[in-house]
C-alpha cells in the first residue's frame, strides 16, 4: 500500500525530512479550502528537497477567481512532470486539467459524495473519459462506492469529513486570497447533544470515525498531519 501526506503549501515549505520519510507521495493543497494553493517555485523546491517523493495537488470547490489561480498554476506545470496527480472536487476544473495534463486524477471526497449515488454507468463513463483512476475516501461507504465505480481507493486518516463552509471561520470572509490564519490550527468543538466532538480545520469540520476502515486494503493511505495534532 502506498503512503501519502496531505499538507498545506505553507507546511510543505517547512516540511522536515523526518516527517516526509516513508511517504511515497506528498499531496499539497486542500480538498476543503480553495486558498491553499501552492506556487510553482515552492513546488520545484519541494521536488528538489524530496526527489524520491511524487508530488500531487489537492483542490476544493472553486469560485471563478480561485479557479483562475489554479488554472495559472496548472499552465505553469504543463510539460514539467513536476506534479503527477491532482485531486478534483469541482466539475469546473476538468477542462484545465485536460488542457495542461496529463495528470493522474483522483476524485476528491466532496465530488465522490455526489458520484457515489449517481447512475453508475454514466458516472463510470464520465470518470473514465476524463482519466480519473482513483478516489479519496474517509468512510467505508465511500470506499465501497469508489470500488463500484472502478476506482482505486485512497483512504484518509485520522478524521472523517463532516461539513464544509465557504465563509472562512478564522478570517471571516469569502475572499480567494487570505492570510492563511488557519495554518496549524485544529479547534476541538464539543456539545452534549453530539456523541463525538467536531474538529475545525481550514473551512471544514471533521469527526473521529466510528467503526472500521475500508473493507479491502486501499491502494493508498493518506495522512493529514494537521488533523492529528490534538485529535
Amino acid at each position: 500500500m502506498e503512503k501519502a501526506l496531505l499538507i498545506s503549501p505553507l507546511k510543505a515549505e517547512n516540511l522536515k525530512a523526518a516527517d516526509a520519510r516513508d511517504h511515497d507521495t506528498l499531496i499539497i493543497g486542500s480538498e476543503f479550502c480553495q486558498n491553499q494553493l501552492p506556487v510553482l517555485p515552492a513546488l520545484k523546491k519541494l521536488a528538489r528537497r524530496f526527489p524520491a517523493a511524487r508530488l500531487a495537488l489537492a483542490t476544493s470547490l472553486l469560485t471563478d477567481k480561485a479557479l483562475l489561480r489554479w488554472e495559472r498554476l496548472l499552465r505553469g506545470l504543463r510539460g514539467s512532470g513536476l506534479v503527477n496527480e491532482v485531486i478534483v472536487n469541482d466539475f469546473g476544473l476538468f477542462p484545465a486539467l485536460e488542457k495542461n495534463g496529463p495528470f493522474a486524477l483522483s476524485l476528491g471526497r466532496l465530488l465522490l459524495r455526489e458520484f457515489a449515488k449517481m447512475d453508475r454507468a454514466w458516472a463510470a463513463a464520465f470518470l473514465k473519459g476524463r482519466g480519473v483512476r482513483s478516489a479519496e475516501a474517509d468512510t467505508p461507504e465511500l470506499a465501497l462506492a469508489a470500488v463500484k465505480l472502478g476506482l482505486k481507493v485512497s483512504w484518509h486518516r485520522p478524521l472523517a469529513f463532516k461539513a464544509v463552509t465557504t465563509f472562512c471561520p478564522f478570517e471571516k470572509h469569502f475572499k480567494p486570497v487570505c492570510a492563511l490564519s488557519c495554518e496549524g490550527k485544529l479547534l476541538k468543538l464539543s456539545n452534549p447533544h453530539l456523541p463525538l466532538p467536531l474538529f475545525l480545520s481550514e473551512k471544514a469540520y471533521f469527526s473521529p470515525r466510528r467503526g472500521n476502515g475500508p473493507a479491502k486494503t486501499p491502494w493508498r493511505e493518506v495522512l493529514t498531519p494537521a488533523l492529528r495534532a490534538k485529535s
Binding site: 469560485t63 463532516k162 461539513a163 464544509v164 463552509t165 465557504t166 447533544h193
Partner: protein, 292 residues
C-alpha cells in the same frame, strides 16, 4: 426580480400566489427531492391542480427533483414529466448531471433549473451544466456576489436565482453537510431536534458558534445581486408554513424597495430594521403546515 416560492399543498399554492409569488415549485412524493416525504404533494393530480391555480393567474409552476435520482427511476420520471409538461408544468429543478445527460439523450427538451445543491461555484462548471441543457442556475447559498459575477453575467444566457441570504442562510454547503439536523431522518428516533450548525460548542477558546456573515453584509449582498441582474429570488419550502410566510413577506418587502430604486444605505437601514436573523428559520423547524 421574480419571487419563486416552495409550496407543500394546494392551500399554500393559492396563498402564496395571491400574496404575490410569481412562480411556485413543489415536490412530488415518489420523485426524489431534497425534502422529507410529508413536505411533498402526494400525486400528479395535486401537481395538476397547482398548475391550474398558477395558470389561472398567469404564473408558473416547477417541480423539484433536486437530489440524485436512481437510474431505475429515469423512465418513470420521464413519463411523469412528459405528462405534466403537457398539462402546463413549466420546468424541473435538478441536481443530478447523470439524469440531465439521460434526458438529453432522450431528446426531452424542458426548462431545467440547476439546484443550489449542485454546487455550481464557477463559470467552467456552469459550462458543463449548460451543455446538459440547464436554463436557470440557483446560485449556491454560500456564494456571494463578490465571487459570482461570471455566473450572473454568463455567456450561455442562463437565468440566475438566489436566496435572500439576509433572511435565510445555511452556514455549511448544504449538499455536502453530514452533520445531524431535523432533515436527517423522517423517523422520530433518528431525528435530530436542532441544527448542529447552530449549536453552541465548547472549545478551548470558550463558547464557539460556527461563523457566518452578519446581516449587514448579507443585505449588501442582496443589493449587489439585484443590481447585477439576478432575475429570481427563491423562498424555499419550509416545514413551518407561518415561518415561510414570514420570510416571504419580508423578502417581498425588500424586493419592492429595490424595485423602487432605493439607495444602498437606506436599503441596508430598512433591512436591518426587519427581524432578520437568518438562523431563526433554522430554529423553528416544527412541522406546522396550513390545513387544507
Amino acid at each position: 426580480m421574480k419571487i419563486t416560492v416552495g409550496v407543500k399543498s394546494i392551500r399554500e399554492t393559492e396563498y402564496f400566489l395571491d400574496a404575490g409569488a410569481d412562480e411556485v415549485y413543489c415536490g412530488l412524493l415518489g420523485l426524489h427531492n431534497n425534502r422529507l416525504p410529508h413536505e411533498n404533494l402526494t400525486g400528479p393530480a395535486d401537481v395538476e391542480k397547482v398548475i391550474e391555480l398558477a395558470r389561472a393567474r398567469g404564473k408558473k409552476v416547477f417541480l423539484a427533483a433536486n437530489e440524485i435520482v436512481s437510474e431505475k427511476e429515469y423512465a418513470k420520471t420521464l413519463r411523469l414529466l412528459s405528462g405534466l409538461r403537457e398539462k402546463g408544468l413549466s420546468g424541473l429543478i435538478v441536481r443530478d448531471p447523470a439524469l440531465l445527460a439521460w434526458l438529453k439523450k432522450k431528446k426531452f427538451r424542458f426548462y431545467f433549473t440547476l439546484s443550489t445543491l449542485a454546487n455550481c461555484f464557477n463559470s467552467k462548471a456552469l459550462a458543463f451544466f449548460a451543455d446538459l441543457g440547464v436554463s436557470r442556475l440557483v446560485l449556491p447559498m454560500q456564494m456571494m456576489p463578490e465571487n459570482a459575477a461570471g455566473l450572473v453575467k454568463n455567456r450561455f444566457g442562463i437565468d440566475t436565482e438566489i436566496f435572500c441570504q439576509a433572511l435565510y442562510y445555511g452556514i455549511n454547503v448544504d449538499s455536502r453537510c453530514e452533520l445531524p439536523c431535523p432533515q436527517t431522518s423522517e423517523a422520530e428516533a433518528g431525528k435530530f431536534r436542532d441544527f448542529t450548525c447552530l449549536l453552541p460548542f465548547k472549545s478551548p477558546k470558550g463558547t464557539f458558534f460556527m461563523p457566518m456573515p452578519g446581516p449587514g453584509y448579507m443585505l449588501n449582498a442582496f443589493y449587489d445581486y439585484y443590481k447585477a441582474g439576478v432575475g429570481h429570488l427563491k423562498v424555499a419550502r419550509w416545514p413551518n408554513t407561518l415561518r415561510e410566510a414570514d420570510l416571504f413577506f419580508k423578502a417581498r418587502y425588500l424586493v419592492k424597495l429595490l424595485e423602487k430604486g432605493i439607495k444602498r444605505e437606506l436599503f441596508i437601514h430598512e433591512g436591518l430594521r426587519l427581524d432578520a436573523k437568518p438562523l431563526e428559520y433554522g430554529k423553528s423547524f416544527t412541522y406546522k403546515p396550513l390545513k387544507g
